[in-house]
Amino acid sequence: MALAEIIQDEVPLGSVRLTLMGQSFVALPEGVLYWPDEATLIVADLHLEKGSSFARKGTFLPPYDSRATLGRLERLIKSLQPARIIALGDSFHDVAAANRLGTDECAVINLMQQGRDWVWVSGNHDPYPPEALGGRACDELSIGPIIFRHEPMAGAKGEIAGHLHPCSKVRGRARSVRRPCFIEDGTRAILPAFGELTGGLNICNDAFSSLFEQPDAICIHMLGDRQIYSVSPSHCRPDRRG
């Protein structure tokens, strides 16, 4: 049975169900959001070719980030078989990134797009997503009560966004653990960055407080190795710096 069918009935092990504007979504431990009613997979901030982008300036990050990111996405698509994929912007680390993608990587993207609606939402790193790679590009996308855009806007309702790379930190008895997370309050959600080599911004940062008007309604869903841990914001600690 495909994972997508399981999701219709119950939440698969390790995932959590969340409701936005009355619509039911499933947050998966891989850091993506699935919308069963629309058979839509939502993924944010792939940052493809970040490695080569740094290499241009003399920092030789491992050149495997694109294939790793796409590999994980491919596995998810195989098990979910979504009808639609929405890449929430910053899919490419810079405007020339798509040209630097290897032929293997391009082939994987084409394969994933076969028979599916593929949407590149534009982001600040990729203001003009390369439609040459297939799929359609747009600045925002509305489906029912939900609007998809890269950068979250203050006061928005029903918005699903990326851009901020949310991370949260909780403290154990001897040290703390910092992980990427979903942050949502029932009216809007921000996804963790999916790309390999992408860092994160602590959800205690001011950038989040201006977006979530009702602090009591905020839920944090941290990514564990195989499951999501939902924690209260009161357990989340700021970073000490940066």
């Binding site: 495997y64 992980r179 000490r240």
Partner: protein, 847 residues
């Protein structure tokens, strides 16, 4: 060698120097003259001597005489440039400054035509620039400055007149990556000035030949090791060391030794000047605080540790120099040879962890060789009593337990290669040949060197996608050249191998109307990870006072005065040095031999007696394992005595295996002496029924697949990798004041680690990190040796309740990091809780 004294007649000593000695009522010592003769005949030499033997003067004498004789010859009018004659390299900036002060006297008094200057990270830029154009005769500096000068375009001109290089505290330099970098620098210096004579000054070590080899160029084509000569002074009076006697109750666990505070104070009162050594800053703060609590005579007692504000430290150092202090509480910042005047007594609070380390620290008292140093050990808990006893025995027979030297680190080599490219274009063959003359790299395979070259050029990935961005590139004439001058600048900013923990300034401010003010005095700096354990409102000890943590503002930790009486005691206070294998063996010997117990304090002997009655004491070669139930959990306690790092690794591997054997382990805790794992299933009955084999559990094969699998996720491995990534230049260091704010722009090394592990597991940096971890944070080497030793020597006791020997490690549960939980458990536990362990002691000691 006998420490006889001579007049210096018939030696290399010029009249003016003989007179100078005579005027002071001194006589040159035999080893000083010996070293002088060897240096003047061009023989590099290692001088091993205890403190107080006039080691420093011995080291400089050949240069001073040389410069005196050469006066006028060296500086010919019209000569555009003359480089330094002598380099003095020390691991500590402060030491360079101290030496400069000490050299001033003889130079002034004999009116020698010699200029001396220091060059450290603290030297102002304009002075450093001037030094490059007009260097002094004697340059006192640090390993990092040597690396910087060697990467300069004018390096050859600067160094080609060097005659002598003096390495101070060589025993401490060679065991670190700084030593590796310096050895590569030395290889290059020998190339600029082949006639250099090296002089190494060192405390007593177990294997002098390692240091002798380090000092001279190697050529291992024929398998032979070249060595410098050796002068070793073993004379001097034996130190008089004892373990503090106390009527107080000896603690079961912990590292503070506060039970002994009254006894310690009494010792301070009875001696003119006392130096109190502790292992960590926390211990220093706590001891200092408690000493002042009982200091009813108002004795001048001060504190010195590396986190205090520099101004504060200088004040303390000055006061110590003038003899106006009665006692000083210090951490290892004072381990090295700074002259502290007349210390009558050294008190070591907490166990010394190594016999050689103890000898070096006790040697701080009575800076004269003919008078015995006096030292007192204050064990902080019962196991430390055994350790102190073992250290005392070792000291009595003069045993040394400094470690053997390891091969040079590859991340350091990566940094060095880039530095050499900054200096000048090079042929790969030439550089390889030069590198192999450095002792730590003498056996470097060419294939590894080639991988290092590729790493420097393009990151060294199997996937060759970065060729067009290469940092160094082979040109038509066969030389490798830097591709952009900006890279040389980058190299200069990132040079060095010291990766400091991120720290924040601690600023004392005031509260007004419930708000925290802005200004205030800086007290010093504190590690970020320590602050992570604090909530605003928590109190902690810093710079001798209890302060209240208010929060972080930018890169500063704001604190206010606190009226609190007891500060929060940090959970981790044990210090970073693992127990040496030699002392570990000593502790096992004591445990296995009840005849030796009569020299132990009664409480400790009683503890061991009850252990003997209730369980068993392990034989010299045995590994004792105890299993017992407590509350709703089942414990397995092992007593390897191999140090906390090796135990942590063992704990990780054991929990993995216990998981597989379906014992349902929940976590573990490690101390220097023991390791405790707790499980949901009844281990004793699993063993009885044959479901769990201890022999299989402790088999050496755990260092195979299990280790690899675990390492991939180990955060200690990630930390090790981070250091390698920074030192090798893969990612740049964070620089104070230049941190990016807001969204991280730098890429975290953890992410790089994960990607590499998955896609290129044999990448050179992963190799480098693995080697580091096996001797460093994970201590796999030692664990491997232990598993081999105890094979077929496991001694298992199935008990109905906790044993006396198990109490110390059980008390650490909840205080030390619980590694079994790893990240996932911490996440899961955020909502959970842990039952406290109480009444342990009564339960354990009941017969």
């Amino acid at each position: 060698m006998d420490e006889s004294q001579t007049t210096g007649q018939g030696t290399d000593l010029p009249q003016i120097f003989q007179d100078w000695f005579a005027e002071r009522g001194w006589q040159p010592r035999a080893h000083q003259l010996d070293l002088l003769a060897r240096a003047h005949s061009g023989q590099s030499t290692l001088l091993i001597a205890p403190t107080g033997a006039g080691k420093t003067l011995a080291g400089f004498l050949p240069s001073l005489i040389d410069l005196y004789r050469e006066d006028g010859l060296r500086r010919k009018p019209g000569m555009a440039f003359f480089g330094p004659h002598t380099l003095y390299i020390s691991p500590l900036k402060a030491l360079a400054v101290d030496i400069a002060r000490n050299l001033e006297a003889p130079i002034r008094e004999m009116d020698l035509p010699v200029t001396v200057e220091t060059r450290t990270g603290d030297t102002p830029a304009h002075k450093r620039q001037r030094q490059k154009e007009r260097p002094p005769d004697i340059l006192l500096t640090t390993p990092e400055q040597i690396a910087l000068l060697l990467a300069d375009k004018n390096a050859e001109r600067f160094f080609n007149q060097v005659k002598t290089i003096i390495f101070d505290e060589l025993h401490s330099l060679v065991v670190s990556k700084r030593g590796d970098l310096l050895s590569l620098g030395l290889a290059r210096l020998f190339r600029h000035a082949p006639e250099i004579t090296t002089i190494g000054l060192s405390a007593t070590v177990a294997n002098p030949q390692d240091l002798q080899a380090w000092l001279v160029p190697q050529n291992r084509e024929h398998g032979e090791v070249s060595e410098a000569g050796l002068i070793e002074i073993t004379g001097g009076a034996k130190p008089d060391i004892s373990i503090l006697e106390t009527e107080e109750r000896l603690p079961w666990a912990g590292h503070t030794a506060l039970y002994a505070i009254d006894n310690i104070y009494r010792q301070i009162k009875e001696h003119k000047t006392t130096l109190l050594f502790v292992n960590t800053r926390f211990q220093a703060e706590l001891l200092f605080q408690e000493l002042w609590r009982v200091n009813e005579d108002g004795l001048p007692i001060a504190m010195h540790h590396g986190s205090l504000d520099v101004g504060q430290r200088r004040k303390v150092e000055a006061a110590m120099g003038t003899g106006s202090l009665r006692a000083i509480v210090a951490t290892s910042t004072l381990d090295l040879g700074i002259d502290w005047g007349d210390v009558e007594l050294v008190i070591h609070v907490g166990a010394p962890k190594g016999a050689s380390r103890l000898a070096q620290r006790i040697g701080r008292s009575n800076h004269r060789m003919d008078v015995p140093s006096k030292g007192i050990l204050v064990p902080a808990n019962r196991f430390e009593v055994l350790e102190c006893k073992a250290a005392l025995d070792a000291n009595y027979i003069g045993a040394q337990d400094t470690p053997r030297l390891h091969d040079g680190a590859l991340d350091v080599l990566c940094q060095h290669v880039l530095g050499m490219a900054c200096a000048a274009p090079f042929q790969a063959d030439d550089l390889f040949a030069e590198i192999k003359t450095a002792a730590p790299y003498a056996d470097l395979p060419r294939a590894t060197f080639d991988k290092v070259m590729e790493f420097v050029a393009t990151g060294g990935y199997a996937l060759k996608s970065y060729e067009r961005y290469a940092k160094i590139r082979k040109t038509e004439d066969g030389t490798w050249r830097l591709t952009h001058p900006r890279l040389a600048q980058q190299y200069r900013i990132n040079v060095g191998t010291i990766i400091e923990n991120p720290t924040l300034l601690v600023r004392m401010t005031s509260r007004k109307n419930g708000r925290v003010g802005r200004g205030g005095r800086v007290l010093g700096k504190v590690e970020e990870y320590f602050l992570e354990t604090l909530e605003p409102g928590d109190t902690f000890l810093f710079a001798g006072q209890i302060v209240r943590f208010e929060g972080i503002r930018e890169t500063e930790a704001l604190v206010t005065k606190s009226a609190a009486d007891t500060p929060k005691i940090p959970s981790f206070a044990g210090g970073k040095f693992p127990l040496s294998t030699y002392l570990a063996q000593g502790v096992r010997n004591i445990l296995s031999d009840p005849k030796t117990w009569n020299s132990l304090p009664d409480q400790v002997a009683e503890w061991l007696e009850i252990q003997k009655a209730r369980s068993v004491l392990p034989g010299k070669r045995e590994l004792l394992l105890e299993t017992f139930p407590r509350a709703d959990k089942h414990y397995l306690i092992a007593y390897p005595f191999e140090g906390r790092l090796a135990h942590q690794t063992l704990g990780m591997l054991l929990t993995r295996r216990l998981e597989r054997m379906k014992a349902r382990p929940l976590g573990f805790v490690a101390t220097d002496y023991a390791l405790g794992v707790w499980c949901l299933r009844d281990l004793s009955s699993m063993i009885r029924r044959g479901e769990l084999s201890l022999d299989a559990l402790f088999d050496e094969d755990m260092l195979g697949d299990d280790l690899e699998a675990w390492l991939r996720e180990s955060f200690m491995m990630k930390r090790t990798f981070r250091n390698a990534a920074l030192i090798s230049g893969l990612i740049e260091k964070r620089h104070p004041g230049k941190e990016k704010s807001g969204r991280q722009v730098t890429v975290s090394s953890d992410l790089i680690y994960d990607v590499l592990n998955e896609h290129e597991p044999d990448h050179i940096l992963l190799q480098a990190a693995w080697v580091d971890a096996s001797t460093g944070l994970l201590d796999i080497e030692r664990l491997g040796a232990m598993l081999k030793r105890v094979k077929n020597h496991l001694r298992h006791m199935s008990l109905d309740r906790i044993s006396p020997l198990a109490v110390p490690v059980m008390l650490q549960i909840g205080k030390e990091p619980v590694f079994g939980s790893a990240d996932e458990m911490i996440l899961a536990e955020v909502a959970g809780n842990v039952s406290p362990l109480d009444d342990l002691i009564e339960e354990a000691m009941r017969l």
